[in-house]
């Protein structure tokens, strides 16, 4: 696919937030909309969420994750949203220049009038909750295990303890049980369930998987592979209740201990983050402090239901489109000056059509190479010569000035751009 140099809206990430944003932006009148996705298909984490529970609000239907994603993917394709897959955005500047890389498409540099950040979130890790012990194979985030089981077709283990009563953890407890693993226990350090009650009923209760509140993992045991974990009860201040230690033999410890908005790129673009949510500070248009950069979905804060992510994505996409249209309108007034043959640069870089009245405009430039014979410096638009200046010679060390007079303005104002070339006389 051929990439454009400039897009109206670029959406980073194609989970529910990104898909909704792209669809909304296109529908609201943005001309060129591009999604950049780091995985090989659109859909984000929805693709590994093969359980039901998606779309009750949006579609009044109970759908599995991939089906929910598919509806938006089809719509995006139908209305002409462009897509770059297997492509990682490396950097975003506050001027909305995007650097990305991909095995298929090489190194990519594009600009965009609006950007929607939709990178989603990542899982909290073992060091973040500081579980001591050895560092063997067999300790995974619930989401990593979910990818292995549901996307790649492999089981991480056969005897599992899950720490954290978050939704992914409970859903994985059921999923692993379906696959023939024994889920020994779900431990939760709080005295309440941190995920949805419906998941507790459908994933744990229905499968007789014990949930222990106010319990946590005291340490991981096993040098090469997990052999066991030591579980403990804690009091209201998370202090270990003496004598409550229990070694649970297992080969896998899954962590479902919270999600954090993923904002590596946002930081690079100068977006201000809220220390509480971990996501960008946004206004009611989902615009961040950086003009033209919007954010939607779990990258802003962690949602409970996908439907609200979709809703936020729609709103952000709509506002991103409106912003892009406004930027286009301003660009419409500007005529870029292009350095042509043997011209190195021109100042000013562009002309504002609204200033084309009254006084003459001086265009100053330097040449790239010396030419020791008479030359013209010709200013022209696509078809016509507008004016030219004669020089006996040109040298890089000596600046050249070409003057646009008021009687050139009528013609200049009709041009999309002006090019200045040096030609021999």
């Amino acid at each position: 696919m051929t990439l454009k140099n400039v897009y109206d809206v670029v959406v980073i990430g194609s989970g529910p937030g990104g898909l909704a944003a792209a669809v909304a932006a296109k529908k609201e009148g943005a001309q060129d909309v591009l999604i950049i996705e780091r995985d090989v298909e659109l859909g984000g984490i929805l693709l590994q969420c093969i359980h039901n529970g998606f779309g009750l609000e949006t579609f009044k239907e109970d759908l599995p994750g991939p089906t929910y994603a598919e509806r938006f993917i089809k719509e995006a394709q139908a209305i002409g949203v462009e897509v770059l897959l297997d492509t990682m955005v490396l950097d975003i500047t506050p001027q909305r220049k995007i650097y990305a890389a991909s095995k298929r498409n090489g190194f990519i540099e594009i600009e965009s009038r609006s950007i929607v950040l939709a990178m989603g979130c990542r899982e909290r890790t073992r060091p973040q909750i500081r579980i001591p012990g050895s560092r063997p194979a067999g300790v995974y985030s619930a989401g990593t295990a979910q990818r292995w089981v549901n996307v790649e077709g492999y089981m991480p283990g056969n005897r599992v303890v899950i720490l954290g009563s978050g939704d992914i953890g409970m859903i994985m407890a059921r999923r692993l049980t379906f696959e023939g693993a024994k889920v020994e226990r779900v431990l939760e350090v709080m005295d309440y369930l941190t995920g949805l009650t419906r998941n507790y009923v459908q994933c744990l209760l229905d499968f007789d998987i014990p949930l222990q509140l106010r319990h946590t993992v005291k340490r991981v045991i096993g040098n090469t592979h997990v052999e066991a974990i030591e579980a403990v009860q804690v009091d209201a201040k998370w202090n270990v209740v003496p004598g409550s230690e229990e070694v649970i033999p297992c080969d896998t410890l899954l962590l479902s201990v919270g999600l954090i908005p993923e904002n590596e790129l946002s930081r690079k673009a100068g977006v201000i983050l809220d220390p509480i949510t971990g996501g960008p500070v946004v206004d009611d248009n989902f615009q961040t402090n950086v003009h033209g950069i919007f954010a939607a979905g779990n990258v802003v804060h962690v949602y409970d239901l996908v439907d609200w992510v979709t809703e936020a994505g729609y709103e952000a996409g709509k506002c991103a489109a409106a912003h892009a249209i406004e930027v286009r309108r301003k660009e419409h007034h500007l005529i870029p000056l292009i350095a042509g043959d043997n011209v190195r640069y021109i100042v000013p870089h562009m002309l504002d059509k609204r200033n084309l009245e009254g006084n003459e405009i001086r265009l100053q430039m330097r040449v790239s190479k010396p030419v020791e014979q008479p030359v013209w410096l010709e200013v022209h638009d696509k078809n016509n010569l507008i004016t030219r200046r004669a020089e006996r010679y040109v040298r890089p060390g000596e600046m050249v000035t070409v003057v646009l007079k008021p009687d050139h303005f009528a013609e200049v104002s009709k041009a999309d751009s002006l090019t200045i070339d040096m030609v021999l006389r």
Binding site: K103, R122, T125, G133, S141, T144, E152, R267
Partner: protein
């Protein structure tokens, strides 16, 4: 007929690998054996990554001599072997007036050891140099020759250069015993068969006591693993750019607040003697201890930004200092014993072992020459180890050129540290092939960032499986027994 070598090096930590590189300069065959699935898995793998100036060891000890000599070799070494090394200098920070005299003691000690560029800074100066320092700081010793490095990068670079110059490395090869001919060592027995040699070199780290006892040397020498625990912080949230030591105590150099070459602030280590030579588990009391210790230097640290924790084992030995008149029982052992022939014995190479490694390698070469070994310089020895591209360290133009040359460098596998498929594949096929997840992690920093492999792990397992031509079920974290996956999911039955 077993294989035969002039030199067999037992143990692939920084000392063993540096020795391999030093010996590769001379004619004669060299084999390095390592019991783990990769080099650099023991004491070298988990330490504070500091190239020490040399004011800390007791004057007159072998430790002091190796430290100061080693420190001076690092600039040339990093140039030849192409690993990153920065002489940032380091500070010993005194908190409260009671600790001030300790700085004078270190200053005197440093001068006696021959350390150049040390001076004592007043409180006011230290507050300017490190704005996060405890306001009760009373002064600091500043050593300009202190440096920071990446111990994996150093060890891998040395080993690669050795391999390119003809040294053979055998991984997963565990020393079991010596083959003796009278009092002469003529080979080693390993789990992968017997290997004949003229010289066996003991660089077995925490196991160096076990190895020397098999040769009948120093039965009284014992290594007690001294475990040190660490926290690593997110560089986006906390940046302490200086290397800050507390004043030392009888337990060692104390709990530091320092920085890695990656820009992450790191705190630790404590120093607890344990019995199990494999027990690298962190502990709640241990982590509490380093947290308390670090806050003494930098009270504003926050546990919220911890992204990794680990523990390392230091080979703390009871080797007596050989200098007459010095009563010191924890010195390095670097010797060619008289009782057994064909044996170079190293032991108790704890901190500053990393700093000392090149000096120890040179010392062993000198000892071998003194022992009558000819050691003729090899024609065509190449001292230069070329580095491989690191996508993260490049600007956009360089990245573009690299991706155009090989599109695999365009596929980013580790989000936080920006490590590409091209780099991973290059490490899998490097002179010391990275065959496990951890081997790739150590060489590329992949998975070391704030998401701790949440994104990259399944992808790296797949790349390893593809490149090695094995099933993902066989891919391991750090060698046999550490497989990531147990079995395929249930197949749909027809």
């Amino acid at each position: 007929m077993p294989e035969s070598y002039d030199f067999v090096i037992i143990g692939g930590g920084v000392v063993g690998c540096m020795l391999a590189r030093w010996l590769s300069r001379y004619e004669g065959s060299v084999l390095l054996i390592e019991k783990e699935a990769d080099i650099c898995m023991g004491a070298t793998a988990a330490n504070t990554a500091i190239v020490h100036a040399g004011y800390d060891p007791l004057p007159g000890s072998l430790k002091a001599r190796m430290n100061v000599a080693g420190n001076q070799m690092w600039d040339q070494l990093s140039g030849e072997l192409n690993f990153p090394f920065e002489r940032r200098g380091d500070y010993v920070v005194a908190i409260g007036d009671d600790e001030l005299p300790a700085l004078d003691t270190l200053m005197v000690q440093g001068k006696r050891n021959g350390v150049m560029g040390i001076q004592i800074l007043p409180k006011a100066e230290m507050i300017v140099r490190e704005k996060n320092i405890n306001p009760d700081v009373s002064g600091a010793l500043w050593a300009t020759t202190g440096g920071i490095c990446d111990p994996f990068a150093v060890t891998v670079a040395a080993a690669e250069n050795a391999v390119v110059n003809g040294v053979k490395v055998m991984l997963n090869t565990e020393f079991e015993d010596f083959i003796m001919d009278g009092s002469r060592i003529v080979g080693v027995k390993t789990n992968r068969g017997d290997i004949r040699c003229r010289w066996a070199i003991n660089s077995a780290g925490v196991y160096s006591d076990v190895v020397m006892h098999k040769a009948g040397i120093r039965p009284e020498f014992i290594i007690k693993p001294r475990r040190g625990e660490y926290f690593v912080f997110d560089r986006a949230d906390i940046t302490i750019d200086n290397v800050l030591f507390p004043v030392p105590s009888e337990k060692g150099k104390g709990i530091l607040v320092t920085t890695t070459l990656h820009g992450n602030t790191i705190i630790g280590p404590n120093a607890n003697l344990i019995d199990d030579k494999e027990d690298r588990a962190t502990t709640k009391p241990g982590l509490d201890e380093i947290w308390e210790g670090a806050q003494k230097l930098v009270p504003s640290l926050s546990l919220k930004y911890v992204i990794a924790m680990f523990a390392g084992l230091r080979p703390y030995g009871n080797g007596p200092c050989k200098t007459p008149g010095i009563d010191y029982q924890h010195d390095y052992i670097i010797e060619i014993p008289e009782k057994v022939q064909g044996f170079v014995n190293l032991g108790g190479i704890e901190s500053p072992g990393l700093t000392s490694a090149p000096a120890i390698a040179q010392e062993v070469v000198d000892m071998l020459k003194d022992a009558g070994e000819e050691l003729k310089e090899k024609k065509g020895w190449d001292p230069i180890r070329r580095g491989r591209p690191r996508f993260r360290d490049m600007n956009h133009e360089e990245q573009k050129r690299l991706v155009n040359m090989d599109p695999r460098y365009g596929r980013v596998i580790c989000r936080c540290e920006n490590v590409t498929e091209g780099e991973i594949v290059a490490e899998i096929h490097s002179p010391i092939p990275a065959l496990t997840y951890d081997a790739i992690k150590r060489r590329t920093w992949l998975g070391t960032g704030r998401c701790q492999a949440g994104f990259d792990m399944p992808r790296v397992v797949k790349i390893l499986a593809d490149e090695l031509g094995v099933s993902p079920l066989e891919v391991t974290k750090k060698g046999q027994g550490s497989e990531f996956l147990a079995r395929p999911t249930k197949q749909v039955e027809n």
